[in-house]
């Protein structure tokens, strides 16, 4: 596989050490280019930090993998490194005492782990030899770098409970910017499908399956003070983080099995009743594969001129202030491995993949690889669905959602676009999902929402009877459904609950980015996000890097967003605190006017004479309307207030960011019909929409609201539905 140049970038081959030094100055260099209006694409590191050559054989009867791995690891730092750390992810499924099982309780992503003997999975490192032939395995030990907060962790004579990180001491350290070559023999058993990986019957989704070295982060990288390993245990609420590298993997499976994998297939051969496939992938940070004899293979090509939806190129170019030729895309070969009973999902997978390739490519940058593999898991293996690996992802097509009345919920499309999106925010931009999951899941959720709404309309998910919802409403509902205990940025297993991890990593970020997009403007936001993608391709950004790019491109201080929305739990909740409208009291008392002193009683002039009574009566009514708007949240941010009077007049006023509350007092010839804060709902971060408005009356034009009718209709509808339920129960009596 080759990495192609992006729209502006060029592949360059720089000496490794030189490039490492250049990396640390990349942001500054980029700033110079960006100030001139250019977007500079980052290039992959060469030679890569890791090179894997793996030969593995699958026994589908026992679901065992026998593998031989040759690894070259290059020390990216100026430190001598005397210990290597490896992820052994499959050991998360080894027993009920692994950190993963304890944290998840055996349930994750709507899936439940099996507890029968054949349901468990594990990986054993059989040997780990250096090029000199010495075996490092005897001195290796399992470690828990994140601790083990559960009782009964270590019993005497037993290994510690979690075996997902292996520490391997080296007799002679790897010198600064030096390298080490290892030959690792391993044996692994896949679990019954659970949490992204495993088997069910003959279907095998082989992910996180080989001894995988952690990331050694030099001082200065991702804000580190000193160099060290970033190699976390496998937690329930976390995905992955790894170095970019080259993978050369040879798979041996029964000849009847259909195989798909990360990267490009470079050869295939038959050995008796076995088939041997070799795949090569460059500039990726993981490798996954699948094997199943029942897959139906559908190959298609993403052809940009034909497949980009009409108007998208022009729209993207306008927002990015670039020409359409500057954001032109390139073809991609796509391979869909479909379950035989999911034929209805075929066109939906294909259509949504083309939507995703178009949207992400046009707005962020062309897809960096030539191939893409989509795996459709079986209905009883959906635990492997909805997962991403470089150039390879799994969809999710439950049969129930393929037919009326749920087919237009567009679940297949949504998952496909989301998982493809990870090719950008996890695959090409190497976010650390252990520590800053929002940089991948969250940014990708926002991208997915935008792609879905651009492709399928304002309400992409629809049910019969006109029901449906837009993605922002779904995100808002999820955000406001939790007690708001955690900030968006938190280590993945540090959230107060699994639900909090989910909301903070996915939909809440969608709201944050929608708010930021409104505040910066669509064009500025689009340019900043593209710059972020381009600059951090094939690198590992942090939250600081995200804000650095956005502040530079927008020219604005965004610290309030970072402090309150990403690092804090501040809410925004502009609301109508109180409202009233009433006829203004007519003048009464003694007034000194140009014609002399006059005395009024209830608007009627009574002194000094009675002759002028008729002309003195105040004929025209005036009304005083008083509305108090308040921000019940903690985040100071501006909003717009709207007052609409019964005669249809509309009055807009600004609610300044620094105001805790604002009182508007209006004297006008008509009563106030309604008042609302943020009537156009541009503040996506607003916590509660139900307190944004207050209806006081009825009128014409914009004042004509239908709330009373809605009350009657939906009360009747509720009673009607209960009535149907009660009559259904008659069957029991």
């Amino acid at each position: 596989m080759t990495v192609s140049p992006d729209d502006r970038g060029h592949l360059t081959q720089l000496p490794f050490a030189l490039l490492k030094r250049a990396m640390s100055r990349l942001a500054a260099v980029s700033a110079i280019f960006l100030s001139a209006g250019a977007l500079v694409a980052a290039t992959p590191i060469s030679p890569p930090a890791v090179e894997y050559t793996i030969e593995v054989k699958l026994d589908p009867a026992t679901h065992m993998l026998d593998g031989q791995e040759r690894l070259i690891w290059r020390n990216p730092s100026g430190d001598p490194v005397s210990e290597l750390r490896f992820h052994l992810y499959l050991n998360a499924f080894k027993n009920n005492r692994s950190l993963f099982t304890r944290e998840s309780g055996g349930q994750l992503r709507g899936d439940k782990a099996g507890t029968k003997p054949e349901d468990w999975g594990w990986i054993d490192v059989l040997s780990m030899k250096t090029s000199s032939g010495s075996d490092l395995k005897p001195s290796a030990r399992f470690i828990q770098p994140d601790g083990y907060p559960f009782p009964g962790a270590a019993k005497e004579g037993e290994a510690l409970a979690d075996e997902t990180v292996l520490s391997v001491p080296l007799s002679s350290p790897v010198p600064p910017h030096g390298e080490i070559a290892l030959s690792i023999a391993f044996r692994a058993r896949l679990p019954r499908v659970f949490a992204r990986t495993g088997y069910v019957r003959d279907f095998h989704l082989v992910g996180q399956w080989f001894p995988k070295i952690g990331v050694y982060e030099p001082a200065g990288m991702r804000g580190r003070a000193i160099g060290g390993w970033n190699c976390h245990s496998f937690h329930a609420n976390s995905e992955f983080y790894a170095d970019y590298g080259r993978y050369d993997v040879t798979l041996t499976v029964p000849a009847s099995f259909v195989v798909g994998a990360t990267g490009k297939r470079v050869s295939e051969s038959k050995k008796g009743n076995l088939a041997v496939y070799r795949y090569v992938a460059e500039n990726v940070h993981d490798f996954a594969w699948t094997a199943d004899p029942s897959f139906q293979v559908h190959e298609f090509r993403f052809d940009p001129p034909a497949d980009i939806p009409p108007g998208w190129s022009a729209l993207a170019a306008r927002q990015l202030a670039m020409s359409e030729s500057q954001i032109a895309l390139k073809p991609v070969s796509v391979r869909l491995l479909l379950q035989p009973n999911h034929a209805r999902a075929r066109d939906r997978y294909i259509g949504s993949t083309k939507v995703a390739l178009s949207f992400y490519g046009l707005w962020f940058g062309a897809y960096s690889y030539d191939t893409l593999t989509i795996v459709d898991p079986p209905d009883d293996g959906l635990g492997a669905g909805g997962m991403e690996y470089p150039t390879f992802f799994t969809g999710h097509a439950p049969r129930l959602l393929l037919s009326w009345p749920l087919d237009r919920v567009r679940w297949v499309e949504d998952v496909t676009i989301h998982e493809f999106g990870h090719e950008y925010w996890y695959g090409i931009v190497g976010s650390n999902e252990f520590e800053e999951s929002w940089l991948d899941e969250g940014i990708n959720t926002d991208s997915e929402y935008r792609a879905m709404q651009l492709a399928y309309g304002p309400r992409p998910a629809r049910l019969p009877g006109g029901l449906g919802f837009d993605m922002g409403s779904f995100a808002h509902g999820a955000y406001a459904s939790l007690p708001n205990l955690d900030p968006i940025r938190r280590i993945a297993w540090g959230y107060s609950s699994g639900a909090s991890y989910g909301v903070n990593s996915y939909p809440k970020v969608g709201l944050f980015l929608a708010q930021l997009r409104h505040d910066l403007g669509e064009e500025t936001f689009a340019r900043a996000q593209r710059a972020y993608f381009q600059e951090w391709s094939f690198r590992h950004p942090t939250t600081s890097d995200f804000f650095d790019v956005f502040e530079r491109v927008s020219g604005r201080d965004l610290s309030t967003y970072r402090r309150n929305l990403i690092e804090g739990t501040a809410r925004l909740d502009w609301s109508v605190i109180s409202s009233k409208t009433q006829e203004q009291a007519k003048d009464y008392g003694v007034f000194d006017r140009t014609g002399g002193r006059a005395t009024f009683e209830k608007g009627r002039r009574v002194l000094p004479t009675k002759e002028n009574e008729a002309s003195s009566v105040e004929k025209k009514k005036t009304y005083e309307s008083v509305v108090v708007f308040g921000n019940r949240g903690e985040w100071p941010h501006e909003a717009r207030a709207r007052l609409v009077f019964e005669d249809g007049r509309v009055l807009d006023r600004a609610l300044p960011a620094d105001a805790r509350w604002v009182r508007l007092r209006i004297r006008y010839s008509s009563k106030l019909a309604w008042a609302a804060a943020d009537p156009d709902r541009v503040n996506a971060w607003d916590w509660n929409r139900l307190n944004d408005s207050r209806v006081l009356g009825q009128g014409k034009g914009p004042a004509a609201t239908a709330g009373s009718r809605a009350t009657a209709k939906y009360f009747a509808e509720t009673a009607y539905l209960i009535g149907l339920l009660l009559q259904a129960v008659w069957a029991a009596a």
């Binding site: 019957r201 029942s294 379950q339 035989p340 009973n341 079986p378 209905d379 009883d380 049969r399 304002p458 309400r459 019969p464 006109g466 449906g468 919802f469 837009d470 922002g472 409403s473 779904f474 808002h476 509902g477 406001a480 459904s481 309604w674 609302a676 009537p679 709902r681 509660n688 929409r689 139900l690 307190n691 944004d692 408005s693 207050r694 209806v695 609201t705 239908a706 709330g707 009718r709 809605a710 009350t711 209709k713 939906y714 009360f715 009747a716 509808e717 509720t718 009673a719 009607y720 209960i722 009535g723 149907l724 339920l725 009660l726 009559q727 129960v729 008659w730 069957a731 029991a732 009596a733």
Partner: protein, 321 residues
């Protein structure tokens, strides 16, 4: 031939017992309104008092969904209240149906017109009998259908669990399971209804004996009885689904359209009572005909007229004290 007649009699019962259809519908509406009542203040506050009602009524593409989610969250206590009230209403409605069956079997299919006092007298007379019949039905049908599903689960685990999803054998097994459960339900339902109908001919029969009587009446006539059940199940089900579909898809934004929509909802709620009365009409027709064949009319014996006054007792006939 008799089945067609029974079904025709079911339709005829609708004309005879319109009052019962209206009564059942009225009870449904009252219970539904009571169960929904906890939500009314919240609807007023949120829908009439804010712009949310406007958004939802007009189905605003991006505002309405958020308003619905926020309503469900902010007014969750009221939603829970309505749910609890609906659960309570379910129990009451079951009891109501148990009682109403006593009135229905007393008045339906008789020569005399159906009146509310006669209906109420039947309800009173058969109340305790019907409660006991219901308990027997609950235990019998619940236990049998529960055992059926337990056996189904065991068979599935043994033979079908490892088949690929969508395998035709699994589909056939699932369909057979559902049809079997429906058949069992139909059998128990028929026994239950015929046991309650037994009070038409034997006003003092006990519940247990009534089930025995029902079993004897249905012996040899099960295909016919099940045919009647199936007809009304399918006919009523399709009719109800169509009506619910029409109601669901009917837009209603203006005040007039909303009023018409409410009328449509009441009309839909009338279907199930009408089907229930028609089913009873068919069953009771069959019951009456079978009853005639089981108990041939006794010979007409003209009783000897009682003397207007007893002859005086002789001294020998003095009663013992």
């Amino acid at each position: 031939m008799e089945r067609r007649n029974s079904i025709a009699e079911g339709f005829a019962a609708l004309g005879q017992a319109k009052i019962l259809v209206l009564l059942l519908t009225a009870f449904t509406i009252v219970f539904s309104l009571l169960a929904a009542a906890p939500l009314l203040p919240s609807f007023r506050d949120s829908f009439a008092g804010t712009l949310a009602g406007d958004h939802i009524l007009k189905n605003d593409p991006s505002f309405a969904p958020t308003d619905v989610f926020d309503f469900l969250r902010e007014k969750s206590a009221a939603v829970s209240g309505a749910r609890s009230a609906a659960n309570l209403a379910i129990l009451i409605v079951i009891f109501q149906q148990i009682l109403f069956a006593g009135g229905i079997v007393s008045v339906l299919g008789k020569a005399a017109p159906v009146t509310v006092p006669d209906f109420a007298a039947g309800v009173r007379r058969n109340a305790w009998h019907n409660v006991k019949c219901f308990l027997i039905f609950l235990i019998g049908a619940g236990g049998t259908i529960g055992a059926w599903f337990a056996a189904d689960h065991a068979i599935y685990k043994r033979f079908f669990e490892n088949l690929p999803p969508g395998a035709s054998a699994t589909l056939v097994f699932r369909v057979a399971t559902v049809l079997g459960a429906l058949l069992l339900y139909a059998v128990f339902s028929l026994l239950h209804d015929f046991a309650r109908a037994a009070r038409r001919s034997e006003s003092a029969i006990g519940a247990w004996r009534a089930y025995g009587h029902a079993r004897r009446m249905l012996a040899g006539r099960w295909p016919r009885a099940l045919g009647i059940f199936l007809f009304w199940f399918l006919f009523g089900g399709v009719l109800l689904l169509l009506a619910v579909g029409v109601e669901w898809s009917a837009p209603a934004v203006s005040a007039l359209a909303i009023a018409l929509h409410m009328v449509l909802q009441i009309a839909v709620l009338t279907i199930r009572p009408a089907i229930r009365i028609a089913v009873w009409g068919s069953y009771l027709t069959m019951y009456d005909r079978v009853q005639r064949t089981l108990a041939p009319p006794a010979a007409v014996v003209t009783p000897r007229p009682e003397p207007l006054s007893s002859p005086p007792l002789s001294l020998d006939e003095q009663p013992l004290v």
